[in-house]
Amino acid sequence: MSFDDVVITGLGSMSVFGAGVPALWLGLHTGRSAAAPAAFDAGRYRVRGVYEVPSAALAALPDDDYAVRLSAAAADEALAQAGLSGHRATLSGAGLAFASTSAGWHHPAEAFGAATPATALMPLLRKELPAVAVAAGNGLTGPFAVMSSACASSTGALAWAVERIRGGDAPVMLVGAVDVLTEVVFAGFHAMRLLTGERTRPFSLRRNGFVLAEGAAFLVLESARHARSRGGEPLAAVLGWGASADRAHLTTPAADGIARSVRAALADARSSADAIRVCYAHGTASPAGDAAEAAALVEVFGPGRPVVTAIKAATGHTEGAAGMFSLVAAVHGMGLGQVPPVLYTDDQDPATGDVRLASAATVSIPAAPVLVHSSGFGGVNSSVVLDIPPVRDSRAPARGDAADPASTEARVLVMTNSDGGTWPAGAARPADPSAGAEVPAPAWPRNPPPDAQCRMLGEAVRTALAHLDPDTRQLVRNGALLSGTEFGAQAHHARIYADLTAAGPRAVEPLDFALSTFNLPATMAALALDIGGQVETFLGATGGVEALASACHLVATGRVGATLAVGHDAPENRCWQRPEEPPVPARATVFAVGQGHAGVGVAGVRRLAPAGSLPELTTLRLAVQELAGTDVAVWCDAVGLTAEQTAAVRQWPGWTVVCSEAGAAAPLDVHASVVERVARGEPAEAVVVSTGWLAPTVIIRYRR
């Protein structure tokens, strides 16, 4: 493992101000008027104004799915600025980290099962499609993930990409996000009474919610060494990131959780609070959110500093893409030495008075280093520290350096699933007699109440915690709960859609919306079991396996002492299915990962972007050979392969083909069965390959 500075070399934006970063930057200073949406009829809502991407900006784009068009345009701009447009050789080793919360729901009748989708439409109903299209369109074959952690998705995607570069998995990572205006999400926020149709006024006495918006933003992330070697010009350096879960309430943000996320980012950046000059706040103009964020910033930085801006005043709330727009604005502003003002907030709420808001008068100040913060439903937080390059020349080696003694092998300590399976059998209740008993039943919040999937996930996580020794359990609680899901909690959105269709906006149940984000089951489990570290969710059939791979990375680099990774899904959340798609079990499968000598070691991970909708077999076989040589036993989960591909893989010596059920839990069960074999020494080393439709291929090498 090698450490390298991580820099940003390109930016792209397709925003409510039109195409391009310059249009975004100008818009941050001028704002715009809200208007009735074109995407649906808002006439029957109390609130009617939204921000959409202007149709003039779309006219020049090739015809394609709306979310794909926005994403591809922003990605193209970022690659062009980085000087990488059309550089297929460079891009083939590059990866993609992507965030979205609502892509696909712009085809609501089919996405929510009210109408049977045509086969050709099916990819367009998934949040993964824009990422798959951008990766395929640019020939990216490296690490790939689609993350959906509510409105904290983007900063989390950036953090994941930073770790891929720090770990030497790829020299270049494209990082992007898209969210498109959809009626179910509008109706959900409307029912939660978080919307205004006029002006978003963060930290203002007159605030009355946010304007819902849309857009796509991208950036090119690169190792500084790689950028130098090809003559690329760094625009900014990413110094560090942090994440946390509030473990307080699912829809009311908590200052403590935000402050822990910010502090973790500062620690990772090896930056003092005093050094930070500018903060791009989440700033949604909700009284509870503004108050919590203001309290956290004052707690970490002290009163009156740094200068705080909140671009949602101008852009509206672009949901999962919001953090990416803040990151793009922050990098662009750093280059100009400017900070955009907080528009429409000339009457700051005295309760947030210790926060110094950017105004027209503070536009030109030292504009770096910058902290960018995002929070999301479920009480999750994600923060990033940026600076102008060059940096680190005079600093000590960073975490993850080859010389860093903290680098170690992550080990699978415990595995459990919601069907009652636990491993190792003897691990239950270690010598300390109080160990198991001191993990009480999940303390579910009264409101919103947990649904069946939340309960299933929570019980499986609790069982895993109970099988860990008390010290490791505490490490997990401060560490992370990473999750993967293919179908999320879409039953709630499907019900919102059905209620809307049958009886209009008043029929939408706000509690349904509060339970509906893809990250919600994991955040609910974290809340109920007192887990305060990073809680994020990866999408797709291999999402649970990616959660495991990421968990191992966090442990191996010493970022956390121990973590949980979980794959979960339930049949009620699959609203439609592809031909030949296997059944989806209601299941949660949990891996506890830590350090030490127990369990089974994770000796390496490889990730491959989906080539179109399917893995490419030659690349796949080569990746396994590079990871573990040619003599290793390989188990290949062929759920994402065609019948022809599966037949071909069956002929490869040493490869065993299995086919898991649908959803993100079953693929992890394949890993669990191989881990058990390796623990018994049958064989002492093995590789598991996980594939999935529209999903990255994730390859993990295990050894005793």
């Binding site: 109390r46 009474r193 009311t252 009264r446 409101n447 919103p448 109440p449 149940e509 706000p510």
Partner: protein
């Protein structure tokens, strides 16, 4: 004095929204605080949607957010109904 039929309907909705189930002891009184009836800020949103459906009214965000008692809810409904009649 308030229309007792409206009051009864508001009380019926209220009890449906107490996550702990119907109020165990005495009937709801007009001066009860919503928090004492198990209505937190999230439940108040759900209750607001129920009242909008039941009475075919629109309740604005700030008005609903300021409600702290049964009386406040009744006032919201009656004001909206009167406005609709005019």
């Amino acid at each position: 004095m308030s229309n007792s039929a409206t009051y009864e309907r508001v009380c019926t909705i209220l009890l449906r929204h107490n996550p702990a189930g119907p109020h165990p002891a005495a009937p709801v009184t007009i001066d009860d605080a919503l928090t004492d009836l198990g209505i937190d800020s999230l439940e108040l949103l759900s209750l607001g949607a129920s009242m909008e459906r039941e009475f075919d009214i629109d309740i604005d965000d700030a008005t609903l957010a300021s409600a702290t008692s049964v009386r406040d809810l009744l006032t919201i409904v009656e004001t909206a109904l009167e406005r609709a009649e005019r």
